[in-house]
């Protein structure tokens, strides 16, 4: 079973890289992620499995597909301003749905109940606090990178403060 899952993971990862169609690439990545989450579940890493499934296979795939849908074939952003309303609403609805599903799922995982939940939060918040600082910094770097690289072209007025 493990071998089958790992072969599936590698095959769909390769498809995600090689596919010239962005949509197929995003879907392949999601399927690869599902295979990986199943591997995590089978190895007993339930937290990793749940996060991989909900965040990577779910949320990120939806973001990719939304972004692809909002762009034209030639890569230009669509002229329509509809996405300014649709995207935040869609994102909000997905976030609410994700939270509800996750709450249900997390409650059903045996290892999270009782003593194990304490150890998980203890590991995350107490033992690996420095990692959290680094992770916040890494996410922050990503946000700043998007802000910097997708900045508008400087207008003539910007040359004088």
């Amino acid at each position: 079973m493990h071998l089958f899952l790992l072969i599936g993971l590698v095959a769909f990862s390769i498809m995600a890289v090689l596919s010239r169609d962005l949509l197929k690439s995003a879907i392949s990545l999601a399927v690869a992620s599902i295979f990986l989450s199943l591997v995590f579940f089978r190895l007993g890493a339930v937290y990793a499995g749940v996060f991989e499934l909900s965040v990577v296979a779910g949320l990120i795939t939806v973001l990719f597909i939304t972004a692809i849908a909002l762009t034209r074939n030639d890569g230009d952003v669509a002229e329509s301003k509809r996405h300014l309303i649709v995207f935040p609403l869609f994102f909000l609805a997905l976030a609410v749905l994700d939270i509800l599903v996750m709450r249900k799922l997390l409650g059903q995982i045996p290892s999270i109940q009782g003593a194990e939940s304490g150890s998980f939060s203890q590991v995350l918040w107490n033992q690996r606090t420095f990692d959290l600082v680094g992770q916040v910094g890494a996410i922050f770097a990503g946000v700043l990178a998007v802000l910097a690289l997708f900045r508008p072209e400087p207008s003539k007025g910007d040359s004088h403060e």
């Binding site: 910097a148 900045r151 403060e161």
Partner: protein, 493 residues
């Protein structure tokens, strides 16, 4: 107090994009320069006295409340903190003028500060997984900074850098996972103790190979160097300076040296691999630099060559070799950042990086020509400048370790270095001034201030090298020379 090295740049990076709305230039310039100066002063005045009695582990506090964060400060980490802070300060001064035409200065400084916070975090951590996290933090900021100009060349170079860094991260992460699997821990002390008790030399050998590939990619050691000649020239000049002078050393050389010498322990096999990789890097980098016409690309290849000297010195593993390697690391940070900043000044004034199109620029840019000559002579190892002493220490250490062939090769590498830097100086600054550059002016005030500061440091470091060695380098070399006993002292913390 040590937590300030991470939290101050991180908090300021968070504020700058907001403050940038109020003031596009003045506030970002002022706050970023002030923060860098603060970190520099902190490393000299506050952090140095802390390790008077040896390395310490300090708990971090947040508004008086203790956090479960323990930071390791010893001679080696302090030396790196000082180097990072010094170069960052010079680069920030230079950026005041240089980054004007890029726009989005607040975002630029914010990314630079995150990169510095990442490097400081990496240097202060005492845990393998922390190394990986802070390595990624600094790397993500650096990908964006390389692509900051958003031109085709910048984006392509950044993508290539990102892809190869991802491969490096995979090697590093896999090795950390294996170490965790066999020792049950990722903290330096517990891993050192676990590996000592278990006696699993093949597993350690495999993990060392993975770390060597991962950190070798980050340090751009041959044969893992292919990303650097694209990434470093494409970035804005101050970022090229930061990458070549500091980032490859922190995320590559520091991390590798800390793990190999203080956690795994240096073995004869590792010594052989590191010294051979060092010498090969010296020659491949130097010969490739010799054939370049793009000034920044020449400097990038030169970085590969000079990193070879650093790894060669550290790889010998003797006290003198380690001292020479660390001294060259510091010196290279000074003169390579200076050379990249000068290349940026030339590019900004003339609009070209091609050495063929330059010539006679000393007549119109005398300050840039003078500081560039000092840096070129320093990096080539001309006495009494700083590069001479560090190379001399490495060569003496090689002779003492009876590695005579490597010593001869190191000297030959230095001759080739002198050759291509003379070519650079001649083509860029001497000869007849090209008609097109008659209207060219000297670099603006802050750019010149930064280059003069670095040039003075190259001269002063060479003249007072015994003081530099005694106060900053010897404590760092002692930490590395003590081997795994350093990590074993911190078991349980």
């Amino acid at each position: 107090m040590l937590f300030l090295f991470i939290i101050v740049p991180l908090l300021l990076a968070g504020l700058l994009p907001l403050l940038g709305k109020l003031s596009k230039r003045f506030l970002p310039d002022l706050l970023a320069s002030a923060a860098m100066l603060f970190l520099l002063v902190l490393s000299v005045v506050s952090a140095k006295p802390l390790i008077a009695g040896g390395g310490i582990i300090q708990q971090a506090f947040w508004f008086g409340a203790p956090l479960n964060i323990r930071l390791l400060l010893d001679g080696f980490s302090l030396f790196m903190l000082f180097t990072i802070s010094l170069i960052s300060f010079a680069v920030t001064l230079y950026s005041i003028n240089y980054m004007e035409h890029y726009g989005a200065k607040a975002n630029y400084y914010a990314l630079l500060l995150v990169m510095i916070a990442g490097m400081n975090g990496l240097v202060l951590c005492s845990d393998l997984f922390n190394i990986y996290i802070f390595l990624e933090m600094a790397a993500i900021a650096s990908y964006a900074l390389v692509a900051f100009g958003r031109g085709h060349e910048e984006l392509e170079a950044s993508f290539k850098y990102l892809m190869l860094s991802a491969v490096a991260s995979a090697f590093i992460l896999l090795s950390i996972a294996i170490v965790f699997g066999v020792t049950g821990s990722v903290s330096f002390g517990a891993v050192a103790q676990g590996l000592k008790t278990l006696n699993i030399k093949y597993v350690v050998g495999f993990c060392s190979a993975l770390f060597l590939a991962g950190f070798g990619l980050k340090a751009a050691l041959v044969p893992f160097h292919s990303w650097l000649p694209d990434a470093h020239p494409s970035a804005p000049a101050p970022i090229s300076a930061m990458l070549s002078a500091v980032l490859i050393k922190v995320s590559g050389v520091y991390a590798m040296t800390r793990i190999f010498l203080n956690v795994f322990g240096l073995t004869p096999a590792l010594t052989t691999v590191l010294t051979v990789m060092g010498v090969v890097s010296i020659f491949v980098g130097a010969l490739a630099a010799l054939g370049q016409n793009d000034i920044k690309r020449m400097l990038a290849y030169s970085s590969i060559s000079q990193i070879g000297y650093v790894v060669l010195g550290l790889g010998i593993g003797t006290p003198l070799g380690i001292l020479g390697g660390l001294f060259h690391l510091f010196n290279h940070a000074l003169f390579k950042s200076l050379l990249f900043l000068n290349a940026g000044a030339i590019e900004q004034s003339t609009g070209t990086r091609s050495l063929d199109k330059m010539g006679g620029l000393a007549k119109v840019m005398p300050l840039t020509a003078t500081t560039s000559a000092i840096a070129s002579l320093s990096i080539a190892g001309v006495p009494p400048l700083n590069g001479f002493w560090s190379k001399l220490l490495i060569i003496i250490a090689l002779v003492q370790a009876k590695m005579h062939v490597l010593a001869v090769l190191a000297v030959l590498g230095s001759v080739v270095t002198l050759w291509y830097y003379l070519v650079l100086q001649h083509n860029a600054f001497f000869g007849k001034l090209n008609e097109a550059w008659k209207g060219v002016k000297e670099a603006p005030f802050w750019m010149s201030a930064a280059t003069v500061l670095l040039a003075l440091l190259c001269v002063v470091t060479g003249l007072v090298f015994p003081f530099i060695i005694k106060s900053w380098l010897q404590p760092a070399a002692d930490v590395l020379g003590q081997g795994i006993s350093v990590a074993l002292n911190f078991v349980g913390f």
